[in-house]
């Protein structure tokens, strides 16, 4: 607190006159900033738009002119994507695998991050470093030993292998992000909760976790997306087509010499839409978390 007051200089002689001038400049500035925000938003939706537009066009049209309005739109691509790649079946698998993996990794990471952030104990720094090291290894390198491990567990061709891998793989990232948020919280809250008769578990669950809800939502989104889109691990661990995920479904449009871009774009729209919905829901969660949060 004191830091803030010390470093901010007091404006001498009343704040009204400079404030008005500042407000006038602020309006022009606001227009510029709003323009920038919208322009950048346009740059961001460009790929989504390209994807959607191209999903209604033929391969040749895409190749010769990648970004126009479809002249004679076709639904052919969606038909073939849905049929060739059995997307309905894959979607169910993707939901099962992604939801359970994210749920597990978040559920175990929250208490661990809390303990690492708020409590002092021997070996804490080393443990935190160990968790962090999990972020550092190129995933491609670990494919072979992971395959051996899952083979030893007799989980090849089982969705459980993917759930285990993704949950474990999510822990370093989740812990890393959540620790920094738990650490940021003021200590008075815990103290008050303890005085009200709480114990470590109730304080954690009832007081601290709700406070980091925006961070949890962020972690969930940023873990959900790569798992949803992953194609390599399912290809390594799964054998039967019935167990494939949407990410793998997309790879069926990649050929040796030629990719079926038209169907691929349709497949992409199908796989990306659920993510968009999830994300819109999650940002609401983030906002709610913020308003319900520290504002006491």
């Amino acid at each position: 607190m004191t830091l803030t007051l010390d470093t901010v200089e007091r404006a001498p002689g009343g704040a009204t006159a400079p404030a008005r001038r500042r407000r006038g400049r602020w309006n022009a500035q606001a227009v510029v900033i709003t323009t920038v925000l919208w322009l950048y938003a346009a740059v961001c939706v460009l790929p989504l738009l390209t994807m959607i537009l191209n999903s209604f066009r033929t391969h040749l049209q895409i190749a010769t002119d990648p970004w126009p309005i479809p002249t004679d739109p076709t639904l052919e691509n969606y038909v073939s994507a849905w049929a060739d790649a059995s997307f309905s079946r894959y979607a169910l698998n993707s939901i099962l695998i992604t939801v359970s993996s994210v749920a597990i990794s978040t559920a175990v990471s929250l208490p661990a991050a809390y303990a690492l952030a708020r409590w002092r104990f021997r070996g804490r720094d080393a443990l935190e470093g160990l968790f962090m090291s999990g972020l550092l290894i190129p995933f491609m390198l670990a494919i072979l030993p992971m395959f051996y491990l899952m083979d030893w567990l007799r989980l090849i061709d089982s969705p459980l292998s993917l759930i285990l891998i993704y949950s474990a793989n999510g822990i370093p990232f989740s812990v890393f992000v959540l620790v920094s948020f738990f650490r940021q919280l003021p200590g008075e809250l815990e103290e008050a909760a303890f005085l009200d008769g709480g114990n470590h578990f109730t304080v954690f669950l009832r007081v601290m976790v709700p406070l980091v809800r925006p961070a949890v939502a962020t972690v969930v989104v940023f873990r959900f997306v790569p798992i949803w889109n992953d194609f390599l691990m399912p290809l390594v661990m799964l054998r039967s087509r019935d167990n494939y995920t949407l990410g793998v479904g997309l790879t069926t449009f990649f050929g040796e010499y030629q990719n079926d871009w038209a169907s691929l774009f349709a497949g992409l729209v199908i796989t990306t839409l659920p993510l968009l919905v999830l994300f819109i829901l999650a940002t609401r969660q983030i906002i709610q978390g913020l308003t319900a949060g520290i504002g006491k």
Binding site: E9, P66, A168, Q184, P214, T272, L276
Partner: protein
């Protein structure tokens, strides 16, 4: 050690059994399914292999010696390394300036910010399999709309062969990567901004502090931990980047190695290389990368800790 007086020590400590209960589930899963395979993968670098998975013998550090003494590793490894560093520097600056700028502006907007947050994160939602391809389409000097638009605006001189020139390929790679990931810092900074008690800013306003000054002296210090988190994750992401450079430059970092990075080099020397000892040499490369990132990340964490201590 600057023990803050506000935090009662009873809150800072918990019985060992409670600590274990909190940490063990995560640690057990992490250790068994991630740490153990990764440790063995690093161990692979100390062996000679035949045909991918056939262990021949323990050969100490021979695989590392190859990387440091044999052509083309002696040229390609430093080159790839410098590209990774350039990518890190570029993304770090852009994510922490543009990302922070966007987050702060959105924070002022009120509920509309949700729309922008969604829009800014859409690039992240698209499968990385095709993000690179989409930009190759958009930036193509022959068919792409970007150069067509520049031509139409009379800016022909700017309509260059973005991914065909060594001078522009790496900057484009950095920009697209930032574009793809910026939703993460925007959201994370947004969440952190929301966690700053409004009284702090109010107090500063009452004292007449202007926008920039308030930001510099009130907001920024409180964001330090999150900025640190984003920076370290940026570092790791930049050092391990694979999908995007591979989509742009293929296995050789086209054009003429300008987009070659360590993970692409790893890909080149691993299983598809046709080399019998591919596993040994590629693991040695990955181990070096790991050690470097570990050093960098630990250093980064130390810096952030120092900043945090200064603040409390």
């Amino acid at each position: 050690m600057a023990q803050t007086t506000k935090n009662a020590s009873s809150v800072q400590r918990a019985p060992a059994i409670v600590v274990a209960l909190f940490i063990l589930p995560a640690f057990a899963l992490f250790a068994a399914v991630l740490l153990y395979p990764m440790a063995s993968a690093l161990g692979y670098s100390l062996f000679e292999w035949r045909g991918g998975t056939n262990l021949v013998r323990f050969n100490w550090f021979d695989n590392f010696v190859v990387l440091f003494t044999e052509h083309p590793f002696v040229e390609q490894m430093p080159r790839a390394f410098l590209h990774n560093i350039a990518i890190f520097a570029g993304t770090l600056v852009l994510q922490n300036s543009a990302g922070l700028f966007l987050a702060v502006q959105l924070h002022r907007l009120g509920p509309v910010r949700r729309l922008f947050q969604v829009l800014y994160t859409t690039p992240y939602l698209v499968s990385p399999l095709v993000v690179g391809y989409l930009w190759t389409l958009l930036l193509s000097p022959t068919f792409g709309p970007v150069n067509a638009a520049l031509d139409a605006l009379g800016l022909d001189s700017l309509a260059v062969s973005w991914l065909g020139e060594p001078a522009t390929a790496l900057p484009v790679l950095i920009l697209v990567s930032v574009w793809q990931w910026i939703g993460f810092p925007v959201l994370l900074y947004g969440a952190a901004l929301g966690a700053i008690p409004p009284e702090l800013n109010d107090a500063a306003s009452v004292d007449g502090a202007g926008g920039w000054r308030r930001f510099r002296h009130v907001t920024l210090p409180l964001l330090t931990p999150v900025i640190g988190t984003v920076s370290i994750l940026t570092f790791i992401g930049a050092m391990e980047m694979f999908t995007l450079p591979y989509a742009f430059g293929g296995a050789t970092g086209s054009p003429a190695g300008a987009t070659d990075v360590l993970s692409v080099l790893f890909f080149r020397v691993s299983f598809q290389s046709g080399a019998s000892n591919a596993l040994g040499v590629s693991s040695a490369l990955a181990t070096l990368l790991f050690l470097f990132i570990l050093g960098g990340a630990l250093l980064g964490r130390r810096v952030i800790r120092a900043q945090e201590e200064k603040l409390s």
